[in-house]
Symmetry: C2
């Protein structure tokens, strides 16, 4: 038997998120079905990041076990033949049998993309959040800087979360403007439920001057969801990728 | 009465191109209907670029006449309320009554976007053409350089075209690589039917070494559609914008 990791990209528009659930089709369900058909055995993946409904991915990770002889590297090609065009496996590789993508150290990177212009652009309506009030990117970056490090992010966690422990480490949070696209790129050891979207919603408030960058430490201190800004819409969020290097190579 | 110009962006995925036709819904028809409803009179726009089925736009132009009192600048806001999310007017402005967007001097810019990587990216499947064989961008640029200037582009014109005159002027043709996105950006005084897509299909052949850049002048000389490469798919093409400066300001 071997354990195979898949790096999975998807357009989340038509899915009820990653995790299998009874009320709508999810990325996990589609993957499980395609894998089960491909190998002729019941397969259930374990996902690294359980992205919400509407959230996109360039590089989410999932593992599954199989006794099939197909080399791990070939599985991506065979699987993509059976997947719809809004889910594409970017890579497949063998990992140790003990490797679990949620129960290990990793660095996850997300991007929240804001299309900041007078009118929306139809071709970017699915993977960016359109926001017309001009954003001051330097101020957003000043606010973002306060988030880097180890903090209790309870204020930036959905009240619907069941997380007991709300301390997380953020390695970097960069706000960049490229033409009319403002991108918040954030890398951390792990994220709470809706955390990146609440950070985005709060930094947007900073960007329009509704809050000062210096308020961020006080929001963290309050440990209360009401202290932070709104949850920015799901379709602006993309899971960029997960770095398991330390876990997989020991470096 | 006044003549109003609209700058129109659209995701062409769900339209049978720009021009009104009996077999499917077009951008022109949707605009005409929204304008007619808005002003309570029958309105028919004149488009600058009659883009094909599946082609996108950031800045196509169209004009119409109305006696309505609404200031031209406000029409974009009112119209966008009545348009579907895949068509968004970016600007509306008054132009001289004699201005006709096809019967005047202008500079049109198109981009052909190629996603050049091992596997497709679901979030870019609508507005880029996925091509997995690695492209040599420098060679594509060498080939593109031969297209700049005044040439007979008959070899780069669909056989279904009814154009009598196939001489056109290309002001610039730049091939750029940004990550895994290869963009052919071309500006010209006018384009023949399928011209940009045939140029893209031919430059892709140059990019994979199937043709040499130096063949381009010979392809032009032949004045025969069969001499050029295939027509690249419509969904990789975006109409970027049209510069009417000379016509509208006299400069």
């Amino acid at each position: 038997m071997k354990r195979v990791m898949l790096i999975v990209a998807y357009d989340g528009t038509n899915y009820h998120g990653w995790q299998a659930q009874p009320n709508g089709i999810t990325v996990e369900q589609v993957l499980n079905q395609a894998l089960s058909e491909l190998f002729g055995e019941e397969i259930a993946v374990i996902g690294a990041s359980r992205t919400d409904s509407g959230v996109h991915s360039l590089g989410n990770a999932a593992v599954f076990d199989t006794c099939a002889r197909m080399p791990a590297e070939k599985i991506s090609y065979a699987l993509n033949q059976r997947l719809p065009e809004d889910i594409v496996v970017q890579e497949s590789l063998e990992v140790p049998l003990a490797f679990h993508p949620r129960k290990c150290e990793s660095r996850k990177t997300y991007e929240y993309r804001i299309l900041n212009r007078r009118f929306p652009l139809p071709t970017r309506r699915r993977d960016t959040y359109f926001y017309y009030r001009p954003l001051e990117v330097e101020k957003m970056q000043q606010g973002a800087d306060y988030l880097v490090g180890i903090h209790d992010f309870k204020s930036f966690c959905s009240v619907h979360s069941q997380a007991q422990e709300t301390v997380r480490e953020i390695f970097s949070c960069k706000v960049e403007k490229n033409g009319d696209l403002v991108t918040i790129r954030i890398t951390g050891g792990g994220f709470l439920y809706n955390m990146v979207r609440i950070i985005a919603g709060t930094l947007i408030q900073v960007g329009i001057g509704e809050r000062k960058p210096q308020e961020i430490p006080f929001i963290l201190e309050k440990k209360n969801r009401n202290a932070a800004g709104p949850t920015a819409p799901a379709h602006g969020l993309t899971m960029i990728g997960i770095d398991f290097k330390k876990e997989l190579t020991g470096q």
